[in-house]
Symmetry: none
Subunit: 415 residues, 2 copies
């Protein structure tokens, strides 16, 4: 099956928004064994969109359209597609009910043009929008098939993953099964990982091995192409064993949507352990990262943001003389922050972050210098000196990831 | 002048790389007053690229190609374009000299296929590559014009900015100037904003008005098309005044890269005011948002994350009886958190967040119920009850934005 992805939106052509939807959808379609031959971006212009649909019909079996499902007059994708395939738009009852509930709980009033968002193509299969209002659609035409998705990634992604993807698997089953397994690594860069696995990657055919670098982590997607699940599992297990023999030290978990914070919180839960934090340069980002995970209250009661020297002393009862003697960008400060936070919160772990996010130097230390300490109930405190790079935001993110990994390794006795 | 951007690379169609080049080039071309009508991504396939060039010739004056200039066999963009316009490839002397110097200083040996990277279209204007090896080209055809650029953003961006952009200005001078102004709004949804401005948007021609929804905010880009800067300013000022008369209540700032947090921190700095926070459901996200801004230490000394009931009592000295009586998801808890944080940190403002991020209910309150309080030195505390929607992450983000806006309005006496 050949597919193409069309993004509709003048804001993309003006350079205001990056087309991350095309990247996401391509990755997902590759998973399903569907080949993507084109990405196109076209503005909010009915004539140009219709011309593009005519062209797409000649070269693709599946045409995925993203964007232009909003309430405003320049949101025209649904209308153009309905005209193109020759069916009217009809109101979807489930989408309408969801919209009514949404506005009932809201301070903003509903406007008549919102109703356009719950219209769908007659005879299409509506795709509900759990995180927004505009519903999507799968429309099976005589020759070509179309999927309509909303433009905002926060709506497009869940709609595709939860509804369009299972529907595609059901409606267009393939005989060959592509089975993927994602391995996640922290603490090793992509080029080093690829160098370690060079021989394997060079000789790959089935399963294939695709490395992918994300901020502060690398994932490896191994994909087997087989006729059944059992042989897929055998192939994937073999490849995984070979990979783990080389870089298993850095492996922290499986899965496409997994993360170091989820793995760490799961470990804390499994071992009935709790954690607090005292954050200087990260300013709450470590705790906010924990807070993203539902149910984290079981292992995280709260913590401190001690951005200034004064709050390090006041909130954590650290002796100001220690801060003056060693400076706030120091091992000693990190250790005191972690140990005092542990005592204040009464948790099993306390992690502290102090350093220089940048862009300016602090206490003669260059941006990227970060001390991270892990205080442990009844055990010696671990203090690390780190030198992170790139910009302010990346330094802070690197620090958060390192803090999570310190906890993870402490629980697994791998420090 | 109409332009389109073609990115060549199978890795884009596999979802391994995001097409940020198209975004960058679009922004740059908008600056030059060149309208971009299409972005397309095509794989490393000569036949499909040639078909695409034939189509592009019929609809665009300027066709910009990025990617496929590397040394490997699947890098074919230059060859396909040379065949398309009917000229041979020739070696560029300056590019060749640069390559020789590069390999002289390197440990990697040069391979024969590297020489392909310094070939250019006969009669084209070569674009040197300061940050890499593959040279680019501007080729002026009889009817259409083409620019060839390398794929890696670290090479494409400097080559465009330093060479292609000045060349475009010289070769294709435009008389018209496109001048944009971005207005940013918080507290009004896109559909309501558009309804308020319906008449203006319907009758727009010059300047044009383009609304764009981002998470928890809306921007309006007004763009004037004039012969000089002075008339642009007049047109933009008129449109802005008309917009402000209708929705000025929600306006918070100007600019493409501005944000509610930057505006709020700037206001705090201007008025020499400081802020702390006590965060429950946001778990540090408010403070981490402040922490993104360089120099925020001037106005933000630190604060508290009080996720559990116990830490609300312990870190902030709130009477446990109050928490038991009213519950933690209450106006009373929010008020106590803000006032106690203010006293502890000795700041001018303290903002508190307590509520239900979801997915589960808490104390009989549905997800999205959030109490946000703003304690002020020497003034009455403001307590707000909010009902946010969508998912856990959006509820937390909505709460952070509302907290920022409470501070901003308090400084401007607009609460």
């Amino acid at each position: 099956m050949k597919a193409e992805i069309i993004a509709v939106g003048t804001e993309l052509l003006m350079g205001q928004v990056v087309n991350t939807n095309a990247t996401f959808l391509s990755e997902q379609l590759a998973d399903l064994g569907i080949e993507v031959y084109y990405h196109t971006v076209v503005g909010d212009n009915p004539k140009r969109l219709e011309e593009l649909l005519q062209l797409a019909d000649t070269r693709s079996d599946l045409i995925i359209l993203g964007g232009g499902l909003g309430p405003t007059d320049d949101d025209l994708t649904k209308n153009v597609l309905a005209d193109h395939v020759g069916v009217p738009l009809v109101q979807d009852a489930e989408g309408y009910a969801h919209m009514m509930t949404f506005f009932k709980n809201r301070q903003h009033p509903m406007t008549p043009n919102n109703l356009r968002q719950v219209e769908t193509l007659k005879d299409g299969i509506p795709l509900q929008n759990r995180t927004g209002l505009a519903i999507g659609c799968l429309y099976k035409g005589k020759k070509n098939n179309y999927i309509l998705l909303p433009g905002p990634p926060s709506e497009l992604r869940p709609m595709f993953l939860e509804q369009a993807k299972p529907l595609l698997q059901k409606e267009f089953p393939t005989q060959e099964v592509l089975t993927s397994r994602v391995l996640r690594f922290y603490g090793i860069g992509e080029s080093l990982l690829v160098t370690e696995l060079a021989e394997m990657i060079k000789n790959q055919s089935n399963p294939t091995i695709a490395p992918y670098a994300k901020p502060n982590e690398v994932t490896l997607r191994i994909t087997a192409n087989t006729m059944d699940d059992t042989s897929a599992t055998v192939l994937l297990d073999q490849a995984e064993a070979e990979i783990m023999a080389k870089v298993g030290e850095y492996f922290y978990g499986y899965g496409d949507t997994n993360s170091l914070e989820e793995v760490t919180v799961d470990l804390l839960k499994q071992h009935h352990l709790t954690v607090t934090a005292a954050e200087s340069l990260t300013a709450g980002e470590f705790q906010a990262t924990l807070g993203q995970i539902p149910g984290v209250s079981e292992v995280f009661p709260g913590g401190f943001v001690t951005y200034s020297k004064a709050t390090k002393a006041a909130f954590l009862d650290i002796d100001p003389a220690l801060l003056d003697t060693y400076g706030v960008v120091s091992q000693e400060c990190a250790q005191a922050m972690a140990e005092h936070a542990l005592a204040k919160a009464g948790t099993d772990f306390a992690v502290s972050f102090t350093g220089v996010a940048g862009p300016d130097e602090l206490e003669g230390k260059i941006p990227g210098t970060v001390y991270i300490a892990l205080a442990r109930k009844g055990k010696e405190t671990i203090v690390t000196e780190n030198h992170f790079s790139r910009d302010r935001s990346y330094v802070r993110h690197s620090a958060v990831m390192k803090g999570l990994d310190l906890i993870r390794r402490a629980i697994l006795n791998k420090n």
